[in-house]
């Protein structure tokens, strides 16, 4: 019965995503290719001072991305430091320096890692003017970069990639804002709170005292999922009944976090003039998603390990209303996109269950990945795949009519290297620097032994991939982790973006080479299979050693 319900639930998710794939994908393609500006958009361009019809080189596009992100980090840092004097602070003091630094980077990079506890750290002003705004714009930045890369494939002999400010504004106002507004109201119907009441003190049935929290949660929650952000209003994120009150809001949240990334392959197919290319990418994403979901669900349903066996089921850190499968479906959706929201505590998962979210992130979050970042990540892997296939048969590789030459493959390789280096070096330094090691072991790590290593590996994996979920027992609000994870988030977001835009520039400048009999067709199952294989093998070769020391050791010993 439980298995049948699980299959029905994932079938419902698949059905909704299938139905939305074409209309949403086509709408996004239209959004980013339409020549006409809407009336209010013209007003916005005048206010911010850009000519919306001017095209940008990849360097200018990158300058836009970086300057907007830098200004965002600085302002978000400032708002947190000034919390005490801002209105609606709920009496909370200024956020300390290290934590403000970490949180500012976290939300601007679309990571939404939370070193703090939302319940007791942030007032409404920081949540709204700081975090909610970044939930929208960091997502729109990701989509813009992905669209710029797609334009690189779509254009020929072009020196430009579009206009970052136009893509940003359209991404926010034509896509994210309308969807988030509808989603927020649906969430309120389900019971998510939306008020400015602060805490309501009540006397419970048995005469105790309870402070029921309030807050503008639904508006925040909608864009948190839709923008694959994941930063919760409350400490326990989507496990909190006021963020995720029912089993159906749970499924709705999963739809929100997956719908844009899963529809972007359609946008890609439309813009490069072949919907089949989009289906090939979609197939790889969906295949990896379903395989990963199956593994996690089986591990948690089996409930291996001393504590789950003793309890009679892996229910530690899970909510009754979601059950095992509502938890594993959410965890898969959240970590295989870049959302990083949690509705159950991954730290308390079975050893092999806890391994799966790590693997989802280590795949580079490509199945389907974050909004925008998932698409550009998998297109980089597609380039690596045609390169490897080209080596096998001894031909110059090409993808979508673009030659993958020295410059292209160098940029793709640099892209692929960034994340593993950040994860492995960050983890290694945490245990290699003498003073830091003591601090990590005595202050940060919550669960002793092997599981403690997993907590640190998970943290750096999450930060470098801009996911934001955690083995939350880890106390990350320390000078070392605030700084190191902050650096991992920053480099993990913007170095890849530099390489993607440079690559987009190189591709756009190329002419299109005609397909010949020797060209590898990239819309067939053969290519999709190769791409999935490359994705898994690159990940396995990179991370297998560290995983054997952590979750694999715990699960198999």
């Amino acid at each position: 019965m439980a298995a049948l319900f699980a299959i029905l639930q994932v079938a419902t998710l698949v059905l909704i995503l299938v139905v939305l794939y074409r209309p949403l994908g086509d709408y996004m393609a239209h959004t980013f290719t339409a020549r006409r500006h809407l009336g209010f958009e013209r007003g916005i361009y005048r206010i911010i001072g850009v000519d919306p019809d001017s095209e940008q080189t990849w360097q200018a596009y990158l300058r836009g991305v970086l300057s907007f992100s830098l200004v965002s980090v600085l302002l978000l840092y400032l708002i947190q430091r000034l919390q005490a004097v801002l209105p609606y602070s709920l009496g909370f003091p200024a956020v300390p320096e290290g934590l403000s630094f970490n949180t500012a980077i976290s939300f601007v990079t679309n990571t939404n890692w939370q070193s703090y506890s939302g319940d007791v750290t942030l007032g409404y002003t920081v949540q709204l003017l700081g975090l909610a705004v970044q939930n929208f714009v960091s997502a729109a930045v990701g989509i813009a970069v992905a669209i710029a890369l797609v334009r690189g494939f779509a254009r020929t002999s072009s020196g430009t990639l579009g206009n970052f400010w136009v893509d940003l504004i359209r991404g926010v106002f034509r896509l994210l804002l309308p969807l988030a507004a509808v989603a927020a109201i649906v969430l309120i119907i389900g019971g998510v709170v939306q008020n400015f009441a602060g805490f309501t003190d009540i006397i419970t049935v048995s005469g105790g005292a309870q402070s029921i929290p309030g807050g503008p949660v639904a508006s925040q929650e909608a864009i948190k999922q839709l923008g694959t952000n994941g930063g919760g209003f409350f400490n326990v994120n989507s496990a909190h009944p006021f963020e995720n009150p029912t089993a159906w809001t749970n499924l709705f949240a999963i739809v929100l976090m997956t719908v844009i990334p899963f529809s972007l392959p359609r946008t890609f197919g439309r813009m490069v003039g072949s919907n089949k290319q989009g289906y090939a990418i979609l197939g790889v994403m969906a295949g990896l998603f379903l395989v990963s979901l199956t593994f996690l669900s089986i591990f948690e349903a089996n409930g291996a390990g001393t504590a789950p066996q003793l309890a009679g089921g892996a229910m530690e850190g899970k909510e009754t209303r979601f059950g095992i499968f509502g938890s594993t479906l959410f965890a898969t959706g959240s970590t295989i996109t870049s959302t990083g929201a949690v509705n159950s505590m991954h730290d308390s998962y079975t050893a092999l269950g806890g391994l799966m979210p790590m693997i989802n992130m280590m795949l580079g979050e490509v199945a389907p990945g974050g909004v925008g970042s998932g698409l550009y990540s998998i297109l980089i892997l597609a380039i690596i795949t045609v390169f490897i296939a080209g080596l096998l048969v001894g031909r110059t590789p090409e993808y979508l009519g673009k030659k993958i030459g020295t410059r292209e493959i160098k940029l793709a390789s640099l892209y692929i290297l960034v994340m593993p280096v950040l994860v492995l070096v960050g983890t290694a330094l945490s245990f290699a620097i003498p003073g830091v090691r003591e601090d990590v072991e005595s202050t940060s790590i919550w669960n002793p032994g092997i599981h403690g290593l997993s907590e640190v590996v998970y943290a750096f994996t999450s930060a470098a991939n801009n996911n934001g979920s955690a083995f939350a027992g880890l106390t990350a609000n320390t000078p070392w982790l605030n700084t190191a994870l902050g650096a991992a988030m920053l480099l993990g977001r913007f170095l890849p973006i530099v390489f993607v835009l440079a690559l987009a520039g190189a591709l756009a400048a190329q002419d299109r080479v005609p397909a010949t009999a020797g060209t590898l067709p990239t819309h067939r199952p053969l290519f999709a299979g190769l791409l999935a294989g490359v994705t898994v093998i690159v990940t396995a070769l990179t991370f297998f050693p560290v995983l054997t020391l952590g979750p694999l050791a715990e699960g198999l010993l």
């Binding site: 926010v172 109201i185 508006s219 504590a307 505590m345």
Partner: protein, 203 residues
Amino acid sequence: MASTRTAVRTYGVAARALLLFIVVLGIGYTAAITGIGQLALPAQANGSLVTNQDGDTVGSSLIGQSFADADGNPLPEYFQPRPSAAGDGYDAGASSGSNYGPENADLIAAIEDRRTQIAEFNGVSPEEIPADAVTASASGLDPHISPAYALLQVDRVAEARGIPVDEVRTLVEGNIQSPDLGYLGDPTVNVLQLNLALDATRG
């Protein structure tokens, strides 16, 4: 120094764009959603608060609460919720899971303790106790327990209140919520609503 001018110009655009987003998204969007929520869906938007038969607000139907005396001992006349890691238990201002890993010795000891205690408290054998009864939820505020754990408490509650067992069992069965749409999630029993219904039958 054309490049410096370009850079300064770009930062100007970035700053103006961000300020515009703060006004429209941070303030405008939130205010609009709050307005709609407060006007059209006030009950949900304000936390699904519930009142007892005297009309006093006694909690939220979505947030679990403890049914214990001042010393933290469970009250036998009320159905008991799951263990909670939020503050000292069901502290709605400090949501939290335990975050204990599957091999954590403290968790293993806690599960053994809870099992013994619940078996004794309810006069049942330890093997009958379902997993949700001995594990802390993710939020520490889980308002639900499994139907199995609710039914296991029926005899104890009936005895403590001096009312027929069948009456309590009927009440529990009437409070079992089936999964959303028939298949999303697990069947649950809302502990606060069940206990309120119980108090209402008494009076």
